[in-house]
Symmetry: C2
Subunit: 422 residues, 2 copies
């Protein structure tokens, strides 16, 4: 099934918002064996919307749009779609009833303007929206099916799961895919390690992608039967893991925090944090994982020198002698944080995230010390992330490097040479 995803919104084309809907739809279509050919993003302009639908209807079997279904005057998807289909707009009694019911259920006052959302191109049917006021619009005629979904991500997702997804049975696909996630290796080094596997016409096809210091190796295997494709895929996954070694931290959607969470739970260990320049971001990442209360007990954000003394007991003299951003202070933060929290591990970070604060000699923006205290030792590593990175990038790299130190420590302490299985 050839699919095109159209995102509609002035705020997207003008760059005021990043479109996450197209990627979400593509990923969820891929899970159902549907390949997306292209994403197109157009303005809140009736003519542009109509043209995008018209062109997509020629090339694709399925067109999914997001956005432009709201109640305000700049929501023009219904009109653009009507123009592309060559039909007029009609009020749908079914959609009107859905909107009225939504407001009653939530005890909110319906405004007349909300009923505009019940106006659909003739011949189209409304898609009931369980979590918002905007019904979707479906046109299910051959040769091209069209589904217009709202732009608000949780509404779009609910409508996709409820209405669009149901149209595909999970076919016994002959192409199977895996992604291998790596940290702490460059894309070129990876390209060299895997050069013979990354040729263009090879099957399985192997490719790499870099995003925010995480490298993803994508593998897709195609065969006449799914079991055969799975065998080919499994072979390549093993081969890549063997070559790349402990830089592989997980599979598919794994983030470092998921892998660390699994290792901590498996081993029954706990972790606490003592953060300075990351300001709570390590705690945030650890608690992004549902159920994190099993291993994450507490943290302190010691942003000021005084807080490093009062919340952790770091000697003021140590800070005065070496500076807050130093190997010595990071070591003390982790060691004392571990003592005070009673956790098995404590991660501590002190650094200069920038863009200011890099004035002292030998302490440039991007200098970060990360310490990991364990029962037996406190390991401190010095990172120089480089002043070409943004503040948010320095902080992100710091957190990933910290989580990776914890991951490697958990693996090594338990005598487990292989990376965590996905």
């Amino acid at each position: 099934m050839r699919t095109i995803v159209i995102s509609i919104g002035e705020e997207l084309v003008s760059g005021q918002c990043v479109d996450t809907n197209a990627a979400w739809l593509s990923a969820h279509l891929a899970d159902r064996g549907v390949t997306v050919l292209r994403h197109v993003t157009v303005r809140d302009h009736r003519g542009d919307i109509a043209a995008a639908f018209r062109q997509a209807m020629v090339e694709a079997d399925l067109v999914i749009s997001t956005g432009g279904l709201g109640p305000t005057g700049d929501d023009l998807t219904r009109f653009g779609l009507a123009d592309a289909l060559g039909v007029a707009i009609e009020r749908s009694p079914e959609a009107e009833q859905q909107i009225r019911t939504f407001f009653e259920r939530w005890g909110r006052t319906m405004r007349e303007v909300n009923l505009v959302q019940a106006d659909l191109p003739a011949g189209c049917s409304p898609l009931h929206n369980p979590v918002g006021t905007a019904p979707g619009i479906a046109h299910l005629a051959d040769p091209c099916r069209i589904c217009a979904l709202p732009g608000v991500p949780n509404e779009m997702r609910a409508l996709f799961e409820q209405h669009v997804s149901a149209q595909f049975t999970r076919r016994s696909d002959r192409t199977v895919r895996a992604r291998i996630r790596c940290f702490g290796i460059s894309e070129a080094a990876l390209g060299e390690l895997l050069a013979d596997m990354m040729t263009r016409d090879r099957n399985p096809l192997v490719g790499t992608t870099a995003s925010s210091a995480i490298l993803t190796i994508r593998i897709s295997a195609t065969a006449e039967s799914e079991p055969e494709a799975r065998t080919m895929l499994g072979h390549d996954v093993s081969e890549v893991r063997r070559r790349v070694g402990e830089a592989v931290f997980g599979m598919d959607d794994d983030e470092l925090e998921h892998v660390v969470a699994r290792l901590l739970v498996e081993r029954g260990r706990t972790v606490s944090t003592a953060e300075s320049c990351t300001g709570g971001l390590i705690g945030k990442r650890l608690t992004d994982v549902p159920g994190s209360s099993r291993y994450f007990l507490q943290g302190v954000i010691t942003y000021s020198d005084a807080a490093k003394a009062s919340l952790l007991g770091v000697p003021e003299a140590l800070i005065a002698e070496h500076g807050a951003v130093s190997e010595q202070v990071a070591e003390a933060m982790a060691r004392l944080g571990r003592e005070r929290s009673g956790c098995d591990y404590t991660l501590a970070v002190s650094g200069i995230a920038g863009p200011t604060g890099g004035e002292l000699p030998g302490k440039p923006v991007g200098l970060v010390y990360i310490a990991l205290a364990t029962a037996s030792t406190t390991e401190v590593r010095r990172f120089l992330f480089g002043d070409h990175l943004l503040r948010e990038e320095v902080r992100d790299r710091s957190v990933k490097s910290a989580l990776n130190m914890l991951r490697l420590s958990l693996l090594r302490e338990c005598g487990d040479a292989a990376p965590a299985a996905g």
Copy 2:
């Protein structure tokens, strides 16, 4: 100047990564008076890349692509562009020298595969990349200029600033724009307040966008001269602010944390945090702002009940009686956190982010108590974000609601009726 942005990458079309480059480029082009017509995202497929360039060259005066310039076998932009231009690929000595210099400067070992990045379509010139190994590719012939930039965001941005941006002088544009940012009001309520201003053919044009509980009112005014357009814009901005009131928190790119930061700095106040379900995310947001050490001193992440007692002194009996997610415990966390930190304000959060943990009667997923302790009082608010939200959404709404409580308190305490000026 009519511009089309093409994003190239299997990982984008398949939904494995969200494309942030197209939005960034659009926003930065808009600042320079260049309007983007459309974004198109295509796979790592030579024919698709060539087709996207060919079609864009017909419609636009400027085409900017990102991605597909790396050293590995799935980087096909150079080939697709060569096909669209109808030329062959040639090794560029200038690009080769840039790549060699980059590796020497950073003391890294160059791999032969990196020199593939010096292969350009004939007639094109390399764009020097100061922060990475992939040079951009420029084809500056009439009637359509083409710039192919790398996909890694910081490299893309550096090349845009250095090479592409220089091609536009900031023209004296007759269309001027502003965005007004709101929190704590629904899109329909806003639509009703502004209905007469949101008609389709009005000038200035007024539209609204909702994203993660933040509503943005976009206003663009067009006139024969820029001063005239600015006057029209200023009038509408004032009118919108008057109607919407204190739900307006800022302008343009403002986030709640920026506005809170400005208010705290202006008033010389400090803040600390005591977080449970948000796990450090309030601290993270406060310290996203450069220079946040002026007002954010410390925080504690008391994820476990024991940590609420040991790090804040919340009585264990209080937790036993009311539960950790209760008005009483949130109040105690904020009040005691303020006493211990010595800050002017303390924000505390205790809630159930989900998806698990909502088993107790009267304590569903999405229930969050937020407390703000000030010199005179501790205010506690109960939020029921609803179990249709994801864990990350509950946490995000909690942080925004907490920051908004601090914003309103700062405004009111200082007898400032109007929202913070942008």
